[in-house]
Symmetry: C2
Subunit: 776 residues, 2 copies
């Protein structure tokens, strides 16, 4: 755990340079706009600890799988999130000394991520070995208004000398991925060019042949006066730079405004990509730096107006939730169905791929409640488009007749991951994808989605389950052998309760959906049946048999479901009794020891209670929570948020708040000692879940939204907004009162603490808050 | 399966060149002498399919572990069997055409491994594109008399021309390992030299710094006349070659006798290694090729006299068993306690390491019965010397207080393997190592070994089990969670019956051994206790508790032990029902499908019945055999032999014979489609087990050897010899009679079909053979 980020409601602040934490800071100070993004790397050369990272949405490299011992069924490659051009780069030399915070003496360093207005600023004083001092101020952003534009303002002032300063803004595609399997470079140069103060490089990825052009245009000022200067165009492989030498005067700042554009062949034809880039660059420069900055602030103001969560009386919590919301919007905007929410977004390379079950299980509810309906739909369509690949993936493992196994990790629908216990066995992901469809329809009411796309996906998934399940003649029940549940600290177990449960739920939901489509879209249904060779009678009969005869491990004595067969045979030690110097166990224990222990990486039975809470009475949920939570080490970033929601539900307010804090400040405080690899983007949605579904008790059922808020002890109040079926509701909780405002122009009927309220257009209702543990 | 090797009782014959099978043939035609060995590569250049392989016992390279996803506890490196100098090489040019069977037209090709006399010969006619034809005859051996010497006789005769022929005998250390993890070369040149007709290269391995010198000396004959010739000394990195150009006359053979010596720093100091090599070379040349060849024949004659198995009426079976015995002796001679029996011996690189549990479980009984007592002892001492490393290995996984986990694969005592389900979980290997001690003492009567070495190993192993076992408060029994049994088609299972059984057996045997040492070597016992910090009362109490309360999965209904918990939940399909085009399943099915199936790679419960047959009545063994064998796909080379012994025991003679044939001709017929990687050396001992313990019914108990032979249907008779406690017995079975001859000068008391016989020195007894299924 670290504690060097200053608490502030709207800003992430690093005061004083901490080179030892620089990679952590680089992650925290990442910027993005859904199209591209980058880590908080410095513009100027830095020879200290750094992970260079600049990423383009949807652009990946199929890196040949690296494996010790091949197992049949493994994918041939792992799609890597590709480090793309360094477009921020500005080399700075002063009398042949290079500005490098690793070699200069640094003072007055401050780095700020302004989340309210969407930019990153930095300032510091650097002293060279010859005593010369400069003051540097930088500001940059990835525009959410002009989605291909990023700008940098870099200002340098000699403090105690006058002399020559040279600045070399550059574009450099000669970059590496740290996680390259074979130390290979993934980009090849296609072409490049320079023209006065404009320059660009076009590169193409090996194998996948993605083309990307990154270009720059710039202007230079002395004080406020624009100046012309002699430019030395430099070229290297995959690189262009413009070396500009200037006479600087003591006390007068030189300012470089660098406008950059990043385009890819996903949206621009190879023929026109350079031309388009040039047009964007000229347009951006015309618009000017100040205008781009103010547009950015305005656009973020709108976003915050709709999605901000305000917390009173707890700055750390406030900073945490805004940091999470800010990064979620930086990562995914829902404008392109080919994109998804990578586990590290634009903040690191680790884990590769772009899509995990995190999307449906954690991120979807956030986007459903804070964005237009089409954003959530886009996430679903993404999976629909991958259905054929999921069928092929299942075939590769020996399944047939249209069974679909969605990949654990994917970029384009093909499986990337290659650990047998995950790739082949962590199949509950299929359940989350079906649940995503259910959740979307429950929230939006858009049941037609089933007929258009959803039912085909559900059929593929149900066909998979019906083949993956084994009938045990011994138990006279259906069982599920050899799976890995959400708790990855168990591998290859039999009858993981969560997986068994979600599998049969999928079958039930598919049956319901079939009926609904059949009744409401009979033509579509016929088309669907033909397309999928659906043997309705035979297939549904087997599903019904499975539904009726599934085996669920449980302990009658303890009144709990069992995470898997034999779970109770393990030595039952509580997580609190693990010596502190052995935490996190994944860093300190052998894999062998972890597997044999009872410790749970993330909720497993409880993940099921979270998804299907209506299926269980409160007492059952409490018993399972009381049993499993003390055995959970929460070493997955996805764990605490689910526990926050469940703890809220059963009235364990104190723990709920702790879980919330752990989720929302996971990266800010570097809880898991891995923020340097990038941020945990998908679990950020979990912080939102913790507040809205947890403290706010927000649920949707039968087309109605309900709330049951309580205030965590440390807070004096909080407020959040949700979009719901065309309306916007603001929920505010303070001084033991709940206020719900209808910010739309039609009446909304809601449930508050199980009581019906009809809130008229633009009206607010008020009610007494009820403590969390009184909820049922 | 292939069928191109001609059946012959003493020879392995390839008639007609089959370049497509050349890598298979290279494996089959391997030579070795315990110190070094090589695949059946050609002396001359061959640009076709080939796996170049020449190996030095005990010389390895710690190749950095290659892994997709690191798990804590994995070893940093994998010790690779190192491809060493090509010392057989002779480049042949005729008028600037190079002799290369891949480009010449080849006829009259024949390759013969003469197992009786211990050499490899080859002859062929090659025609060049210009119509010139040569006749080539080669013969080579790895001397078992002069253990550092290998010789080659290479004879070439122009058939239809006279002209220039150049021969370039060379030594080349510039070789690669095909299984190098990072395409690295492992040898670096240290020095090299040439002097007239002698040349050598000394190389050193990276990291491990093993030094090896390979040298050559040669002589050339025209017809039978030695000739002098002009030698062009050629040098390249890690290479020396002597180019000799000769005028050859039509119809007259030119013969090159190349004498080679391979020394390593295991036995020679770096300072003297070259000098020693020169001495050996000169000595070998003085002795002369013919004498070395005849010495070799004589030495093999002696070996065969003691260890041959003769089979009458079945040439395929005869050839198979001799091929196995021949290769076992080529691989391991028991003269050096640092060496062990690598899975591929000197016939390939695959699997690396040198020691698996195969040594104790399969090879030890062979060496016990066919070699001097010290050979088996040497194999045990090897493990004793690795005890400290086994303790460190266990510590790495979180065990303590002297618990020892022997590695799955090792070269020097450190674990090499890196699949968690094997490295961490296939812990039954510890049991086999304890069993080896038991087996050695049972056979030899050398109980003192316990006091000297054995007890310390047993203690380390028992300490491991007592920590690895978990007390299940739920079952009120001790259980063993998360293991992989001998059947590697199941991973991470709970309560593998075999592992549970052998674990408690280890505890019992350790308790007995403690008592025995305490009683008979009380001083040694005290020393042992102090050295190991043995808390006798406390530790043995826990062991006794485990022994009394161990959980063993079983089915009362079926009367069998269960391979593991939940085994009966699997879909119960028989191996015979797997479609033929899906066999072997490891090549055709996804790992996922294999794991979930009921199919067994090699005997698991049955491995336990084999080790501990006295603990079970015949009916129990039969029931388990009847249940498990039909589910066994025998895709491990170690499977059929164990089944041959059990099938023999319960009277399933027909299957016993099939299992025997599958084991003994596994490589000759390339059953598993992998002979090209090298031979299955350790399973070759299984062929011997199948005959001696299977058909011959040989057992030892209470210091007495017993037999219960039967004749497989296809055979008219067979005979084998065993050494037993200083005597040599010959067992011959033919025409429904059993003859047992005592070839030693003292009386031996034996049991034959449970009846006592005292066989006087140099006498033979005769009895009626009893059919196998009448044994009880």
């Amino acid at each position: 755990m670290k504690n060097y980020i200053k608490h502030d409601p709207w800003k992430i602040i690093e005061e004083g340079f901490r080179p030892e934490y620089n990679e952590i800071s680089e992650s925290l100070f990442s910027l993005g706009n859904g199209r591209f993004g980058l880590r908080g790397n410095f513009e100027e050369t830095f020879t200290g600890k750094t992970l260079q990272g600049s990423y383009l949405a949807g652009v990946y490299y199929p890196d040949k799988t690296k494996v010790g011992w091949w197992k049949n069924g493994y994918p041939e490659y792992f799609a890597k999130v590709l480090n793309a051009a360094n477009w921020i780069g500005i080399r700075v030399e002063i009398d042949n000394h290079e500005l490098d915070l690793n070699t200069c003496k640094v003072s007055n360093f401050i780095r700020i991520l302004n989340m309210k207005e969407g930019y990153l600023s930095r300032s510091f004083t650097a002293e060279f070995s010859d005593g010369k001092q400069v003051q540097v101020e930088t500001k940059r952003l990835c525009s959410i208004v002009e989605e291909y534009i990023g700008t940098i303002q870099f200002s340098i002032k000699p403090l105690n000398f006058s002399g020559e300063i040279s600045l070399t803004p550059f574009i450099d595609f000669d970059v590496v991925n740290k996680d390259s399997n074979y130390d290979e470079k993934f980009w090849e140069e296609k072409n490049k060019g320079n023209d006065n103060n404009i320059g660009w490089v076009t590169a193409v990825t090996k194998k996948t042949k993605f083309v990307a052009t990154s270009g720059m245009i710039y202007e230079i000022f002395k004080g406020d006066t624009p100046i012309d200067s002699i430019i030395d165009h430099q070229e290297k492989e995959k690189y262009i730079g413009h070396r500009i030498t200037l006479n600087a005067e003591e006390g007068q700042a030189i300012t470089l405004n660098k406008y950059c554009c990043n385009l890819t062949s996903l949206n621009y034809s190879e023929e026109n990509i350079v031309e388009n880039c040039m047009q964007y660059l000229n347009k951006a420069k015309e618009k000017g730096y100040d205008k781009i900055l103010s547009d950015q602030a305005e656009a973020w103001e709108k976003k915050w107006a709709e999605s901000d969560i305000q917390i009173e009386g707890d700055v750390a919590a406030q900073q945490g939730i805004r940091f999470n919301i800010f990064h979620l919007y930086q990562t995914y905007t829902g404008t392109d169905e080919r994109l998804n929410i990578g586990p590290k977004g634009f903040t690191g390379e680790k884990y590769g791929g772009s899509t995990y079950w995190d999307t449906e299980a954690y991120c979807l509810p956030f986007y459903l409640a804070t964005s237009e309906e089409k954003v959530g739909r886009q996430l679903l369509v993404y999976r629909y488009k991958h259905l054929q690949k999921a069928i092929e993936n299942a075939e590769k493992l020996g399944f047939s007749r249209g069974a679909a196994l969605y990949p654990m990790v994917t970029m384009n629908g093909e499986e990337c991951h290659n650990e047998w216990e995950i790739t082949f066995e962590e199949i509950h992901r299929n359940g989350a994808i079906a649940y995503g469809i259910f959740d979307y329809i429950r929230y939006t009411g858009d049941k037609n989605y089933l007929a258009e796309y959803g039912l085909e996906v559900l059929l593929g998934i149900s066909r998979f389950w019906s083949q993956r399940i084994t009938f045990s003649t011994h138990k006279n029940k259906y069982v599920m052998l050899g799976v890995t549940g959400p708790n990855e600290y168990e591998n290859n177990v039999d009858n993981n309760w969560y997986t068994n449960y979600i599998a049969t739920w999928c079958l039930k939901y598919t049956l319901e959906s079939l009926d609904w489509v059949k009744t409401n879209f009979s033509e579509k249904y016929t088309e669907f049946s033909n397309k999928t060779n659906f043997a309705e009678a035979e297939e549904t009969e087997r599903w019904r048999d499975i539904i009726s005869n599934m085996y669920y491990p449980k302990s009658e004595e303890l009144g709990i479901f069992l995470q898997q067969d034999n779970y109770l045979d393990k030595e039952q030690i509580m997580a609190k009794d693990i010596p502190e110097d052995q935490i996190p166990i994944w860093q300190n224990w052998s894999w062998d020891r972890i597997l044999r222990s009872c410790f749970i990486k993330q909720g497993d039975v409880l993940q099921g209670m979270y998804f299907f809470e209506d299926h269980f009475d409160r007492e059952t949920i409490r018993k399972n929570y009381d049993f499993y939570e003390p055995r959970t080490v929460h070493e997955s970033s996805l764990s605490p948020c689910i526990h926050a929601v469940i703890a809220s539900k059963i009235g364990d307010k104190k723990r709920a708040y702790q879980f919330y804090l752990r989720t929302s400040r996971l990266d800010l405080d570097d809880y898991n000692n891995d923020t340097e690899d990038g941020l945990h983007i998908t679990s950020m949605a979990g912080s939102w879940l913790a507040v809205v579904k947890g403290f706010g008790g927000m649920r949707v059922s039968n087309g109605q939204v309900s709330f049951a808020p309580f205030i965590p002890e440390n807070w004096t109040g909080y407020a959040f907004k949700i979009r719901f079926r065309g309306s916007i509701l603001k929920i505010e909780v303070k001084e033991n009162k709940v206020y719900i405002s209808n910010e739309s122009d039609k009446q909304v009927d809601i449930l508050l603490y199980n009581k019906n309220y009809a809130i008229k257009a633009n009206e607010t209702i008020k009610a007494e808050a009820i403590p969390g543990d009184a909820l049922a």
